[in-house]
Structures are given as C-alpha cells and as structure tokens.
C-alpha cells in the first residue's frame, strides 16, 4: 500500500500545475449561458493547443495515454485550480471513448479530432420523458429508408444541445424485438430543421439542459455506431465512462466548498457552537471518506481490471454530502446565504439535482444491492 503519488505521477502533476499556473483561464462569467459556453470553448482550445484536452485518450488520437491515476490527477488539479470544465466535456469523456471502442476506422477519422479541438460539440440523447432511470424503455423510433434512417421522438436532459453539432442518440430500430435488443446507437447531426432544441429551465433559473424534439430527422446509415440492434451495449460503454475522472473533479470541488465553509464558521465564530462543530465534523469525515474511497476504487480497477464493491458508492456519497453541506451552509452563513446572488444559494439549489443526474440515488442503491451484493430481483 502506498498512498503517495509515484515519481511519474508527481511529474505529471507538476507539469500540469506549472501549465495551469501560466495559463489560468480566469474567472468564469456567471448567469449568461452563451458567455459561459464561449468561455469554456476558449478554455478547451487552450488545453488542446498544449495537448491537455484529453489526457486519458490514446496518443494516436491526440491524448497522452494517461493512466487512470493520472487522469484522476488531471481532474483533481483542474478542480483545485478552479478551472471550468471544457466546453465539449461530453465529447471528451463520453462520445470519444465510445467511438474509439465501437467506431469504424472512418468514424474515428471523422469525429475524434474535432471533439478534441472543440470544433464540434457533442450532446447525449439517451433520456426521454418516459425513459429516465429505465433507459431501455426509449420510444424514439428509427425507420430505415434506403441509405438513411428516419428518426422521430423526444429526448430530455440533453445538456449543451443548443451548442452541439452531434448527438449520441439511442433509438429503437426494431419495435418487435425485446426491450433491450431493439435499440441502435446513432451519431445524429443536430444541424437540421427536423431537430428542435428547447431549453429546459431548471430550479436554479439556468438552462443547462434541453428538450430535443425530433420530427423525421435523417441519419445516414454510416452514422450508426456499432451494429444494428446493438445500441444497448454501445450505450453501456458510454454510461461506464460517465463517472470516470469527473468524480475526482467533483470531489475536489466539494473539498473546496467545505474549506470555504469552515473558514466562514471560523470567521463568524459559529465553529465554537458544538452543534455546528459536530455537523462540520460529519462533513469533514464524509469528504475525506469520499476522496479515499475514490482512490481505493481506482486502485482496484487499475490492479484487477474491474471495480470492487467500493466503486459503486462514490457518486451516492458525493451527492448526499454536497446536499447536506450546502444545507449546513445556510445555517452557518445565515439567511443571507439565500440571497439571490449569494454563491451558496446557487450551490444549494444546484445540489438538488446531484442525486438525480447520472443515476438517481434510488437506482444506485438498487444496483448496489442487486449487482454488488447479489440480492435477488423480484
């Protein structure tokens, strides 16, 4: 057991730190989505120009062949430096690795570089109004028409759709086949009349997400990823990539938030209240547990090639802790924490989404019980 970084890992981290110190993106604009997107695009270009856009990608596709540990370090350092996520985060983390795993040589040639450079932004068209946690229930239909597929349906929670050139789309190509088997995975061009994007305003007042209305959109057959009817398996590749790396970014952000809260409690003296002290102690315990469990999970995957029981727990622990911590902040900071422009007010509201996005806590618990602990399904 060695919980210090190796020489290689330290060199990787120091090189990145040095680069970040010299290339700080500055303060992200608030509120205005277009300005935020422009800011994150220019941030990704800057990463791309220096070869930092996708450290976890293989070198042949423009990455650095980073180990899982280096990739975790990358996201930790980004979080620590207060850097934003790159504009094309879904392309880099989800679309790219899925195309690498399932794409034809032509597809890899066509799509990977513009993902890296943020020339083409990607969104994820999985969830539907009737298919949230139950992803295999997607109703969006794709019907073959010569060399094309004609797609009709509705998607929801597609973040960044208004800026996207491409969409990772799961649609039903065989309504007769059983639920999981009738699905196929498409790379859909968003720049067509048949695809309408409507922003979905969330409880923070922002519109990170969108609804997608698809009315007879055309997708050439060559834009199918993987075989026809294989969409569920391809989608699982995407979903498995969803949490890797990003978890370390969120974990560091949580720690920064906690440090800020402790500083606030020291400054206003509330830390001397034993009840507040206990609540903060709970947050300190949870935040460290999250960090250490995330590293333990990563070590298990690197050493044994598959996750251990601890790997399924971190997203749940993170979302619960972020919600508790932002609630505690209201107590410590007082009612002004809820003033519209107070950063804690935003954090409090945004945290409500944490236990829903990327798998609700209830579904995660089902998965842990059934797949990790082997409890019987009905």
């Amino acid at each position: 057991m060695d919980l210090t970084f190796s020489q290689d890992e330290l060199e990787f981290r120091d090189e990145l730190r040095e680069w970040l110190a010299a290339n700080s993106p500055g303060e992200e604009p608030r509120g205005d989505e277009d300005a935020i997107f422009a800011f994150r695009t220019s941030w990704q270009r800057s990463l791309y120009d220096s070869g930092w856009a996708a450290v976890h990608w293989p070198q042949e596709y423009g990455g650095r062949d980073a180990t899982l540990m280096e990739s975790a370090i990358f996201f930790e350092e980004m979080g620590r430096a207060g850097a934003p996520l790159p504009a094309n985060v879904l392309g880099l983390l989800l679309a790219g690795p899925t195309i690498m795993a399932w794409g034809t040589p032509e597809q890899k040639d066509r799509y990977l570089t513009p993902i890296l450079s943020a020339e083409e932004i990607w969104c994820q068209g999985f969830s539907e109004p009737e298919a949230g946690s139950d992803l295999a229930a997607v109703k969006t239909r794709a019907v073959r028409d010569g060399d094309d597929w004609i797609v009709t349906g509705q998607k929801v929670w597609t973040s960044g759709a208004q800026y996207s050139k491409w969409c990772m789309l799961v649609a039903r190509t065989d309504p007769e086949a059983s639920k999981h088997k009738g699905l196929s995975y498409f790379l859909m061009d968003m720049e067509q009349e048949a695809v309408q994007v409507r922003p979905l305003v969330q409880i923070t007042g922002e519109a990170e997400f969108n609804e997608l209305f698809i009315e007879e959109a055309r997708i050439p057959h060559e834009n199918m990823l993987g075989e026809e009817g294989n969409g569920w398996i391809v989608a699982l590749t995407t979903l498995m990539n969803e949490r890797s790396g990003l978890g370390f970014f969120l974990q560091v952000r949580l720690r920064q938030l906690l440090d800020k809260l402790v500083a606030e409690a020291v400054a206003n003296g509330s830390i001397d209240d034993p009840v507040i002290g206990q609540a903060l102690g709970d947050m300190l315990e949870r935040t460290e547990t999250l960090r250490l469990t995330a590293y333990r999970g990563l070590s298990t995957i690197m050493k044994y090639g598959q996750p251990g029981p601890e790997g399924s727990l971190t997203k749940w622990l993170w979302s619960e802790t972020n919600q508790m911590m932002t609630q505690l902040a209201v107590e410590i900071v007082g009612p002004q924490a809820l003033h519209k422009d107070n950063p804690w007010a935003y954090e409090l509201l945004r945290a409500r989404g944490n236990s829903i996005e990327g798998g609700t806590t209830e579904i995660l618990k089902n998965i842990i019980a059934e797949r990790v602990m082997g409890l019987p399904r009905k």
Binding site: M1, L280, L284, T289, K303, L313, W316, P376
Partner: protein, 335 residues
C-alpha cells in the same frame, strides 16, 4: 499510488481469516460469551503465529512489521469476534513502543511480543478491555497528553460486566504507583484508535455478510425479503458505511507507518467513521433479521454488543468529529 494491500499483506489477511474460521467459530464465540471465560488455547495459538508482536520491532522481540499488518489481523479478529485479549494487548504494546522509556520497553516489549504477557490500554477512569488477567497496563490521562505504565499486580483493578460478554472489561484505580512514560501519549492514543477501528471494520464486514445471506434466504409473501427494495436499500447503506470505514481505517493505518504527520487527523477520521459504521451496521443487521435478530439465539447481537463497546472505547463518533473540526479550524486559521 496503490491503495491496496501488497501480496504479502493479502496473504497475512487470508491466513488469519482461515485460521479464525476454524478456531473461532460461532459456537466457540457463543460458548466463551456464555461461560465468561476465554479459551486459553486460542491465545496460545495466535501467539505461536506471532500475532501479538507483529508490529513490535525486531529489537523489541516482535515481527517488525507495520501497523497496517497489525490492522489486517485485528480486522479478521473482529470479523471472527475472536475471544482473546489481542486488541488490548496490541494497543498496550504499541503504546509502550511509542511512548515508553528504554527500561519500560526492554522490560515489557519482548514479553508482550511473544504473548507470554498481555497488556491493557485505556484512558484514566474509563474502560480497560481485558485488564483483569493482564500483566501490564498503560493508562492515558484524560486529555491525552501524558501516560503512565503500571504492572497489573501493583494496580487496583476491578472487573465489571458490560453488555458485551464476548470480551472482559474492567477499570483501573487512580494513581496506583504508575510509572510515567516519557514519550508522546497522544500518538499512542491515535494508534489504539486505529486498531479499534480495524476491529470495527471486521465486525461490520461480518454482520453485513450474515445479513445478506439471511435476507436472500428468508421468505415472506412468497419471495425472499432481500428482493424488497426497502431491505435492499438498507443493505446498500450498510455497505456504504462498511466500505467508507474501511477506506479511512486503512488510510490511518498506512499513515501510522508511512507519514506520522497525518496520523492524528487520520486516526480521528478512522475512529469517527468506524464507530458510526459499527453502531449503524450492527443495528441494521438486527433489524434486517427481523424478530429472530432480537433473540439471544441468533448470533447478530454479539456483534452489536462488541460494536457498541468498541465505538465507545477511546471516544466515539462525536468525540472524534469534534477533533476533526478542531483540526480543520486550526488549519483554516493558519491559512
């Protein structure tokens, strides 16, 4: 970074599990608990395998391995709920190694390492596990800054019954000619907290396994109760507690060996988390077992009782959370 045991450490853990599966069966735990007497032969066997001295230096007559190796043995000991003075004696040995004078070390470490003598460790006026039949006691002053050593023969020791009959507990009379220890008592306290946390992790892991087996097997309404989401989510919560406590306890044991500057905070983290896990997971195990879980006949209550005692020993969740906050506040103020 590699957050996993080495091959040797895995081997130590596996061997310990196999040994205790044979030597500390549920029947033997029960018979020791009900008779109030340990089986001498188990301690002798553990001593033959070098358990008591595993983390005592070779110079002190021990195996010269680390706190991490010792923690893996304690985890397995908790898993098997072994009836032996292993935890108390190991904590006493580490305390003397950490804070004792040269004379204290040369007098006691070889005997503790061989298992010929046993020790106990505790905070003044509080509970001392396995103190009555021990040979030497380390008493830490409340507040944790100083410690003294006393031969059990020279101390006024009183045994009392607790809710946990799987282990024997007692108290040590005040100021009975104890010999001051010159070293860092707070480090000794941290080490003992880490060892107790390791035992708690083992307790949690075992009752979780028992619970999962039980809810797979037990049928109501024509289906296994483990197929009901309410039960499933309870089990998932037990896993989260157990694995979280495991992460921080291994970290603290590693810090004890590799980076002492992290030990104080890491030990508070481990004891806070493992105490919470121990109490929650064993209580949840009783609930998931239903009516049978509340009976003397089922074995879950032994684990619940041990977890309660371990959680309270050297301070529980709230004590150690307060410590975490205090350390974070100090770090914040100095930033």
């Amino acid at each position: 970074m590699e957050f996993d045991f080495s091959e040797d450490q895995h081997e130590i853990k596996r061997t310990a599990k196999d040994l205790l599966a044979k030597r500390s069966t549920a029947e033997r735990v029960r018979s020791a608990a009900e008779s109030g007497a340990y089986e001498e032969s188990l301690w002798n066997e553990l001593a033959e395998h070098g358990w008591p001295g595993v983390a005592i230096s070779e110079e002190g007559g021990g195996g010269g391995l680390g706190v991490l190796e010792l923690a893996t043995l304690l985890e397995e000991s908790g898993y098997a709920l072994a009836n032996s003075p292993f935890l108390a004696s190991a904590a006493c040995g580490l305390a003397i190694q950490e804070a004792g004078s040269d004379e204290q070390k040369s007098e006691w470490l070889p005997k503790l390492a061989s298992g010929e003598a046993t020790g106990s460790f505790g905070i003044d006026t509080q509970t001392f596990p396995d103190v009555v039949d021990s040979d030497v006691i380390v008493v830490v002053e409340a507040g944790g800054s100083r410690a003294g050593l006393v031969a059990t023969a020279d101390a006024v020791v009183k045994e009392f019954e607790t809710i946990d009959p799987t282990r024997r507990y007692g108290e040590v009379g005040r100021g009975e000619g104890s010999d001051p220890m010159p070293g860092d008592a707070s480090a000794a306290l941290s080490l003992a907290a880490v060892l107790t946390s390791a035992e708690l992790v083992g307790v949690c892991a075992r009752v979780l396994e028992m619970t999962v087996e039980y809810v797979k097997d037990r049928k109501q309404f024509g289906r296994p109760v483990g197929s009901f989401q309410a039960v499933q989510h309870r089990c998932a919560q037990m896993l989260l507690h157990t694995e979280g406590a495991r992460s921080v306890t291994y970290y603290a044991a590693w810090a004890a060996d590799a980076d002492r500057s992290l030990l104080e905070e890491a030990a508070a983290l481990a004891k806070s988390s493992a105490s919470k896990a121990g109490v929650e997971v064993t209580a949840s195990a009783i609930q998931a077992h239903g009516g049978i879980g509340f009976t003397w006949e089922a074995d879950v209550h032994w684990f619940y009782k041990r977890a309660q005692m371990d959680a309270a020993y050297l301070g529980g969740t709230k004590t150690h959370r307060a410590k975490l906050t205090q350390l974070a506040a100090a770090a914040s103020a100095s930033r």
